[in-house]
Structure formats: structure tokens, C-alpha cells
């Protein structure tokens, strides 16, 4: 019986201007879940893409079940029993759920695709994984979290021996995360091995058996999960001590007045009766399950989803926000949750992405863009947020996921907002950088900025926000003090509300 199902030795990978991996080792035992940790840009995804056959390594060796292999391409990797959930969503929006899951491995009959069988296979798979999504729904109509569940199902559909999960939970809420953990446990019991990448410490301890850490493309070490602490792991990752994950915010707000107030916002199917306010310097958290409507509310405030009725007030004066342009005019900033589709221009450089929401500020007296200034400002953000990029000209599609997310943040910090809406702002961001971002948020708050934060990361939202609004069924159902409340209390609110679901739905 072979225990060591995979070992990677001295893996190297060089991109133009970047050494992504310089001799990394990795070992995986059968039936084990290996956590892979490292800061943004450490090389985790690159290493996994090499294993999955979508990159060719520039050096090093790979052994599967102690047999040396040269992984030719993704098909070869699949044949070898390696399956991967990529960090970035990689589904076809123009196909249905079932068509995506069985893409390139469709069942056929008489040479033609057997749709009925494919749908049945999807249904079986979903039943096994306890996923509730219609196999015939178009992927473009699904929420991100559902798309992520489809990705997970797709990776499992081939009955792989090694499953790689690159930040699978960054788009999931706690409920789906639990579901995923059940799935992982099940496959593990059936003898599959897994490599699990995340930036959430509590997940590492909940699910892994041992942990390997990368830093700056180098292999730092491997530890058994039972024998380590999050302090030790953080130290391995960032190379220094970090005694705090959440910085301390020593004030609730800077002024007891309503900076931004929403009254009775309503849009059929998207949100109902939304009324709340944020004070200068206050951080208001919105929490809810997947599909509860948090993102829609934020989009409604920002004028992306056009409200049918309701009012908005800024410092007591009514304002009209019909589109993002007007929102920005009123100094409202909105960090969207889907960085690739809604946030970044992947084909443009770092500096162009950072300055795009506030170009007016970068014009010289001839109304020309002042590139020096762009570069200067971008450099500052690169330093503040510790963005890892070879130059500020680098096109952002070449950056690691976490660093891309930081650029979206930089873009909105750049407009000097009075109200900052953050939808899953720390998705895919490493512990160290998260800390920096929380600190920046507190600094902004201290200057009087009102912050609304949406997060599916419960510990995060409980620690960061001053006031917590619970969202369910497109409505605000409760307001809680995050310092006093517990996860159980929040769930009671949501589930208590859940009893009346039937009625709400009939009304709608």
C-alpha cells in the first residue's frame, strides 16, 4: 500500500519579470487533506496549475504514487486522476449547469450528446453532494456562490484521486462552506487525497491534516495540523510575528449623525423595505446567507440596480443616485464582489486600474492625463496594500488573485470616498494584508468615512463591524450589536424568519 500518493520536488516556474516558484517541494499522502498556505503571490496557484497540467514547470520533478510523471496537459492530468477547482471561476456563462459540469466529457448516444442522460447524471451528482441547483439553469443566471458550487461539483464529477481546491470558499457563505466540508470528509473517507488552499485560518484547522507553507515562491516547511497554532503558521507565511488578526477600533463613530441614510428602498424581486443609515466613522456590517440580497442592496444604493421607490439622504439632504456616475459624484465608493467581471480591466495595467474611477484628478493644466502623478499615486497604493507586482505597467491578468483584489480596493480608496461600500472586500486576501486593509478601514473611519461592509466570513464581520444588520429574503430582518451577539443568535434570526418563507414567497 503506497502512502505517498504525490510528491513534487524542486518545482521552478519563471514568468517574465517574476520568479513565481524557485524550487518548491510538496508531499501528499493518500486519504489526507493537505493545507497550502502562503501570502498573496506566494505561488500557490501557480504550483497547483503545474500539477493540473495547465502550466509547464521550468524545473523539478513530479511523482505520482512514487512513479515519476511528466504532466503533458490538462487532459493528461485528468487521466492521472488529478482534478482542480481553479481560484478564478472558469465556467461558460452561455451553457447550462449540466452542460458545464460535463463539458468535454458529455455522454453520447449514436454519436450525439445525450441531454437526458447528462441531466440525470447531474441530478445524481447533486443529490450525492446535497446541492440544490437546477441542472438546466443557465450559468450566467446563477449567483456567484451557486456558480462556485457548480465548479465544485464539476471537479468531483470525474471521481478523481487527487482533488485540488484553490480557495473554494472565498465565494461561499458559512452554510455552503459547511456543506463543502461534509463533501470533503466524504471523499476523504473514500480514499481521495486533497490539497486545500485558503486564507481563512479557521478552515485550515477544521479540515486539514497537515499544512505546507510557501513564501515568495519558496518552500518554507510542512507541519502537522494538530501540532501547530495559527500564530506559528502566520509566522511561517509572513516571516514575522503577528499577534493580532483584527486591529482594534477604539471608537464606534466619530459623530452621532446620519451620514448616509436609505429609506424604504424597494425593487421588486431584488430588495424590499430597505431602511438603514451609517454614521461618520461607523462600520455597518451586512450579513446574510447566499442569495439573501446583500449584493442587490449594495447595487441598489450605488444606482446599478434601479430602485422603484425609496429615498436617499446624505448628511440630511435628499440626494438622487440613479447610476454609478451620480453615486461617485456624491463620494460613494463600491468595491464589488466579482473582481474579474465587475472590477478590473484585465487587459490594462496596474496604474490604469487604480486611477480609473477618479481620472479627473489626474489631469494636468492642459487637461492631459498626468502619468507621473498616476505612477506616483499607484506606487503609494502598492506600498500601502503591499501589492505584489513587478511594475505598475504589468497588466493585471498576470497578478495573483489576492493582488488583483487589492487593486480593486486601491481603485476605490483612490476616490477619497465619504461612504465606502465593501462587498466581500477580503475575498482571497492573505492574513497579513487583511490586517492592513482593516487598519486602512479604521483610518478612513477615523477621518469620518461611513463604511458598509458585506462579508460571508462570519468572524470577520463580527470583529470588524460596529453594528450588524441581518439580511434575509431581500429584507433587513434584524439589527444586532456584533460585540454582544453570537453565530447562534444570528442563525436563529435567519431561521426564525425562515419559518415564514412560504408566506413571503406567496406575497412576492
Amino acid at each position: 500500500m503506497i502512502k505517498k500518493i504525490l510528491s513534487m520536488k524542486g518545482i521552478k516556474k519563471i514568468f517574465p519579470g517574476v520568479v513565481a516558484l524557485s524550487g518548491v517541494n510538496l508531499e501528499l499522502e493518500k486519504g489526507q487533506v493537505l493545507g497550502l498556505l502562503g501570502e498573496n503571490g506566494a505561488g500557490k496557484s501557480t504550483l497547483m496549475k503545474i500539477l493540473a497540467g495547465s502550466y509547464k514547470p521550468d524545473g523539478g520533478e513530479i511523482y505520482l504514487a512514487e512513479q515519476k510523471v511528466e504532466i503533458q496537459d490538462v487532459n493528461h492530468a485528468k487521466e492521472l486522476g488529478i482534478s482542480i477547482i481553479y481560484q478564478e471561476l472558469s465556467l461558460c456563462p452561455n451553457l447550462t449547469v449540466a452542460e458545464n459540469i460535463y463539458a468535454f466529457q458529455e455522454p453520447t448516444r449514436f454519436g450525439l450528446i445525450d441531454d437526458q442522460k447528462m441531466i440525470a447524471m447531474t441530478q445524481n451528482l447533486f443529490k450525492e453532494l446535497d446541492i440544490d441547483i437546477s441542472p438546466t439553469a443557465m450559468v450566467k443566471d446563477l449567483s456567484i456562490s451557486n456558480q462556485q458550487m457548480v465548479e465544485i461539483a464539476k471537479a468531483l464529477s470525474t471521481n478523481p484521486k487527487i482533488i485540488i481546491m484553490d480557495e473554494p470558499t472565498s465565494a461561499l457563505s458559512s452554510k455552503e462552506t459547511e456543506k463543502l466540508f461534509t463533501i470533503i470528509q466524504k471523499y476523504k473517507n473514500e480514499g481521495a487525497s486533497m490539497i486545500y488552499i485558503t486564507h481563512r485560518m479557521e478552515e485550515i484547522f477544521a479540515i486539514t491534516d497537515s499544512i505546507s507553507v510557501l513564501r515568495d515562491g519558496q518552500y518554507i516547511g510542512t507541519v502537522a495540523t494538530e501540532k501547530t497554532t495559527s500564530e506559528e503558521l502566520i509566522k511561517m507565511m509572513v516571516g514575522r510575528e503577528m499577534n493580532q488578526v483584527y486591529p482594534n477600533k477604539d471608537f464606534h463613530y466619530v459623530k452621532d449623525e446620519k451620514l448616509l441614510e436609505i429609506k424604504n428602498y424597494r425593487k421588486e424581486k431584488y430588495f424590499y423595505d430597505v431602511s438603514f443609515f451609517v454614521r461618520p466613522g461607523e462600520i455597518v456590517g451586512l450579513y446574510g446567507l447566499m442569495g439573501s440580497g446583500r449584493t442587490e442592496i449594495a447595487k441598489g444604493i450605488f444606482g446599478i440596480i434601479k430602485k422603484e421607490s425609496g429615498h436617499m439622504y446624505m448628511k440630511g439632504k435628499e440626494i438622487k443616485v440613479k447610476d454609478p456616475f451620480q453615486a461617485i459624484e456624491h463620494n460613494i465608493a463600491f468595491v464589488t464582489e466579482d473582481r474579474k467581471n465587475e472590477g478590473l480591466v484585465l487587459s490594462a495595467g496596474v496604474y490604469e486600474n487604480v486611477t480609473m474611477a477618479n481620472l479627473g484628478r489626474f489631469l494636468n493644466k492642459f487637461r492631459m492625463i498626468d502619468k507621473e502623478k498616476e505612477v506616483e499615486v499607484t506606487s503609494q497604493h502598492i506600498k500601502d496594500l503591499r501589492i505584489k507586482t513587478p511594475t505598475f505597467y504589468q497588466t493585471v491578468n498576470k497578478l495573483s488573485g489576492g493582488n488583483q483584489q487589492k487593486i480593486v480596493l486601491a481603485k476605490w480608496f483612490e476616490i477619497d470616498p465619504e461612504v465606502l461600500i465593501l462587498d466581500e472586500p477580503t475575498r482571497g486576501i492573505d492574513v497579513g494584508a487583511k490586517y492592513e486593509i482593516y487598519k486602512l478601514m479604521i483610518e478612513l473611519a477615523r477621518k469620518g468615512v461611513g463604511i458598509i461592509i458585506i462579508s460571508s466570513d462570519l468572524p470577520e464581520i463580527l470583529n470588524v463591524s460596529d453594528r450588524l444588520l441581518v439580511i434575509n429574503e431581500k429584507r433587513i430582518i434584524a439589527e444586532l450589536d456584533p460585540k454582544q451577539t453570537t453565530q447562534e443568535e444570528i442563525m436563529t434570526h435567519i431561521i426564525g424568519r425562515g419559518d415564514r418563507h412560504g408566506q413571503t414567497k406567496e406575497l412576492a
Partner: protein, 322 residues
């Protein structure tokens, strides 16, 4: 008939082109009021055989647009294949051998486009705009720009003959190819791969699709479609000429886009394309029948195309809103 309708309306797919279909029906009603000749069986069959050449090109184009690429050389491939047909026939080859060789030439021309663009990573727009000159130039060079008469009776039958003395052969050909292309695009793994590539290239790579190979195959399909078109066209013209089918690439693309295929890839149906081609054919025929002056034909045709797409866009939005 009713059963067919029932079955059709159940199909979600059908709804995706019900907008263009509406536009087509609207146009037909309009022209049937404007000209008493329009709705005659004979005229309807004439329209079908008139559009057959563009429609077949557009079937091929649907595959190319599906993967987000473009082929501007199809008109020139038609010309080149026609010349080859003429040369083969006049050098005494049989119709069968000539057809096989013409199809091979079309596929090779397509392969040229597909290979150069895929292997050397050159945008297909550039490759096919260049190939446009190359293929037509070869056609001219072969015959010194002179037409070659086509006298082979089987070939002439393909372009001008009638089955049961009523149904023009090109109509049969176009319907058979419609079915084949529809199945290929929407029911086979090959068609699905095209859709995946057009929808998300990265995802396609990740699931292991060999995009380059697929691209080559797809350009071979447009080449083959052009070869078939060239046979029908040469027969229709009783001659092979290097200066035919100029600008047909734009007509074929317009028919395809009119039929709902997205220029940026991922969406499209062959049936929609056929309806798109029919709309163009009905406009041309209808305006000829009512004797509209030439200058106005161009203007009116442009406006009708815009309106047809507008109806389609609106219809799709209405369906989505439901």
C-alpha cells in the same frame, strides 16, 4: 402541423430566435400586400434557391463566429473553388471527381486560414482578409481572369434542376445542409466544444479542449461550405469565374448576426442563421418585385435590417423580463 407547433413552442431554443422569425413573417406579410406575385409558390421557391448560396456560407460562418473568430475569405474561396471546378470539368474529369476535388480545395483553403491563425497566433481577421486577396488572386492567375463555361449536365442540374419538376435542387441541398449543420452545432461534442471555446476560452483550455485543433477544423468547415456554395453558384452561372461572390462574406456574416449569433462568440444557432439569410433574401426579392429604384433599395434594405434586429433584441428582452 399543430403538433409541430406545439413541439416547437415548448423548445426554449425556438424562443431564442422567435424575434427574427417574427421579423421574417412581418416582412413576408408586408411584401404580400405590396406585390401579388410575392406569395406564389414559385416565387417562394425562387427565394429559397436565391438565398441558398449565402445561406450555406452563413452556416459555415455560424461555426466561426461561435468560437469568436471571423472569416472574411469565404467569398474568395467560392471564387477559387469555382475555378477549380471549371478547370477539372473542362479537362475532362467526371462530375464526381471534380466535386471531390473542389471540396478538398475548399477544405484546404479553410485549413490554411485555420492553421496560420492558430499556429502563429495571428488574428483571424488579418489572416482571412489577407487570404481574401490570396485565394482570389490564385483564381485569377489560373484562368487569366477569363470565365470557364460549365457544361457538365449533372453539375448544371445541381444548380438549376428541379425535383418532381417543382422543387429546385439548391433548395434541397440547403435544407439538407441546414439539418446537418444544426445537428453538428447543437447535438454533437464538436459543436459543444465550439460553444465552450466561444463562451470562455480559459475554461475551454482548463477542461482540456485543444483550441487550435478545433479552430482548424472549424475553418475547414467554412471552407467546405464555401466549396459547396461554389458548386451551386457555378452551375447557376453556367460558368466559373474568378470575380464572383465579391462581398459575400459580409452578407454571410450579416445573415448570421441577424439570426442571433453573437460576434463575440458563444451564442448562435444554425436555424437562426437560416432565418437571417431568408430575411435578406425576402428583402431583395420583394424590392425587385415591386420594382423599387436601385438607390432606394440600398437605403430600404439597410433600414429593414436595423428594424429586424431591433425587433429581435426587444423580443429577447421581453422574454427575459417574463
Amino acid at each position: 402541423m399543430d403538433k409541430l407547433k406545439n413541439w416547437l413552442s415548448q423548445k426554449k431554443l425556438f424562443k431564442s430566435y422567435s424575434g427574427v422569425f417574427l421579423a421574417l413573417i412581418g416582412l413576408m406579410i408586408l411584401f404580400s400586400f405590396l406585390s401579388p406575385h410575392f406569395l406564389q409558390t414559385n416565387n417562394l421557391l425562387t427565394i429559397l434557391s436565391q438565398v441558398s448560396i449565402i445561406a450555406i456560407l452563413a452556416f459555415g460562418m455560424t461555426f466561426v463566429l461561435m468560437i469568436g473568430e471571423i472569416d472574411l475569405s469565404v467569398g474568395s474561396i467560392v471564387a477559387l473553388c469555382g475555378i477549380v471546378l471549371g478547370v477539372m470539368l473542362s479537362s475532362g474529369q467526371s462530375a464526381f471527381v471534380s466535386i471531390v476535388i473542389v471540396l478538398a480545395v475548399g477544405a484546404l483553403a479553410g485549413l490554411f486560414n485555420g492553421m496560420i491563425s492558430a499556429k502563429f497566433r495571428i488574428p483571424t481577421f488579418i489572416v482571412t482578409v489577407a487570404a481574401m486577396g490570396i485565394f482570389r488572386g490564385i483564381g485569377y492567375a489560373i484562368t487569366d481572369a477569363r470565365p470557364i463555361q460549365i457544361e457538365n449536365s449533372f453539375i448544371l442540374f445541381l444548380g438549376n434542376g428541379k425535383i418532381f419538376d417543382t422543387i429546385p435542387v439548391p433548395v434541397v441541398v440547403v435544407l439538407v445542409l441546414l439539418l446537418a449543420a444544426h445537428i453538428l452545432l447543437s447535438k454533437t461534442k464538436f459543436g459543444r466544444q465550439a460553444k465552450i471555446v466561444g463562451g470562455n476560452r480559459v475554461a475551454a483550455e482548463y477542461v482540456g479542449i485543444n483550441i487550435k485543433r478545433l479552430q482548424m477544423k472549424i475553418f475547414m468547415i467554412t471552407g467546405l461550405a464555401a466549396a459547396v456554395s461554389s458548386i451551386l453558384l457555378s452551375a447557376r452561372l453556367y460558368s466559373a469565374q474568378p470575380n464572383v461572390a465579391i462581398g459575400y462574406e459580409l452578407d454571410a456574416i450579416a445573415a448570421t448576426v441577424l439570426g442571433g449569433t453573437s460576434l463575440s462568440g458563444g451564442y448562435g444557432t444554425v436555424i437562426g442563421t437560416f432565418i437571417g439569410a431568408l430575411i435578406m433574401g425576402v428583402i431583395n426579392n420583394g424590392m425587385n418585385l415591386i420594382g423599387m429604384p436601385y438607390f432606394y433599395q440600398q437605403i430600404v434594405k439597410g433600414l429593414i435590417i436595423i428594424i429586424a434586429v431591433f425587433i429581435d433584441v426587444r423580443n429577447k428582452e421581453r422574454l427575459l423580463a417574463k
